[in-house]
Amino acid sequence: MNELYELTPYLVLAISALASTVAVYLAIIEKDLIKAVLYSAIQSTFYALIFYLLMVPDIVLVYIPVSVGLLPAIIIVAIKKTERYEDVAGIPKSSSITILSLVVAFTFIAGYLLVLSHAITLDVFPSADARVLAKWFLNTTLWWNKMFSAMSPEAVTAIVWDYRGLDTYFETSVMYLAIIGALALARYFEIPKKEYREEVMGMSIIGKTATRIVVPMILVVAISIALHGHLTPGGGFQGGVTAAVTVSLLIFIFSTYFAIRFFKINTAILLRIAGLIGIALSAVITAIIAFSTGQQAYIFQNQPKVIAQIGLPYEVGGNLISGTLFLFNVFEFLAVFMGFAILFLLLSIPEEVIREVIRGEME
């Protein structure tokens, strides 16, 4: 029998899941879209707590900026540019009863499947044992034998950029394509040329002063998350989305015309391309070294392998840098940060400018 106080994390897990269900239900049946966004933000904070208690801090670090910060911001901008209320004229009044009956039915199915899985495997669902693959990854992530190891104490970053590096490369290119799609939709729009004036534009003086103090601190936190990605929870993705908050704060608190002093769209695209080229180069850097010295190598090779003896140094001056993982984190930080900077700058273009452009295209 467990002691009662050992149940606390599991209890918090169950309570936050139930609270998130209430928030999701209200977010779906709410007619006011702004309130729906806020309810989904409540759901996101509870999901962050669930991820935290499932002991995956890497996911929490990337999930909080994305789902609590960036996604509500973008949907709020979209609602401000379009309409606020949903038209529910045709939907039957009994929709909440429909949802409840659906939920009850499918929940019974889920519970039945869970019990079935217990009965088949003769084991309870959160098993005490890990899979063989997981044990292999955990065993070799920082090991005395460099042939099979990534030489990084963080297993998640090791999997993302070493063991399964090619997957991550193609997933990064999917993200690149999505941003290219957004750029193509906004191809003729330009930020109007206006001077930033302190007293007319932006929010109150208190907000501006506090943001001036806080933005460098946020950048420092983001860069430290990115550069320590091979030692502590974090990495390029997490640092990039954390740094993207600075762009959104500059745009919302000061103005677009203040933000483009630091981030012009073309500069951001150039830096983003530099980051992507850096990722590609880091993927083949061992191959380049090997071919120039007449040896063999793999793509996405980090440490020396059996038939490919070239590898990057895993520590410099006693500090662990884990070979290519460090380079990947730096370049991924640049690519993600600048990608979201581009999207925010595009979203902040005034609607009149865009409408004039579209009217010109139609005629």
Binding site: N2, V37, V56, I99, G111, F125, P233, V241
Partner: protein
């Protein structure tokens, strides 16, 4: 066989399944495009949580994160680490999934804005009627 911890864990599992059902209702029935995007993001989050739930382990008193705190670990440390850490493979898959999901959502929002500029409404029923 089923103790209090497993029971509470099953409550979590079933509550998140309820979230999936509700968000699917939102995607299919609600007419507004922005509401559909919100429901889609909730649905994505729920599936990600399922991926993480698979990798969880029930260890006394509690499992640890898949990150070593020692820079030069000994054999005993590695053995203990492997026996207590959660599965690191689902986080690695979910990590890229979250960021790509955000980029795709952004693209959808840009599409919705373009639809509003051209058609003047976000109601999917009116847009379908306007065709032709």
């Amino acid at each position: 066989m089923i103790d209090a911890k497993t029971y509470l864990f099953m409550v979590t599992y079933i509550a998140i399944f309820a979230n999936i059902v509700i968000s699917l209702y939102g995607i299919f029935v609600r007419p507004n495009i922005i509401k559909k995007i919100i429901a889609l993001s909730i649905f994505g989050d729920c599936t990600l949580i399922y991926a993480i739930l698979i990798g969880f382990r029930k260890i006394e008193p509690y499992p640890t994160i898949p990150i070593m705190t020692a820079q030069q670990p000994s054999q005993e440390y590695i053995k203990e680490f492997v026996s207590t850490a959660v599965d690191p493979l689902p986080p690695a898959l979910v990590l890229t999934g979250v960021v790509i999901g955000l980029a795709v959502m952004l693209f959808l929002v840009f599409l919705a804005l373009q639809v509003y500029r051209v058609f003047g409404t976000l109601d999917i029923r009116k847009i379908v009627r306007m065709r032709g």
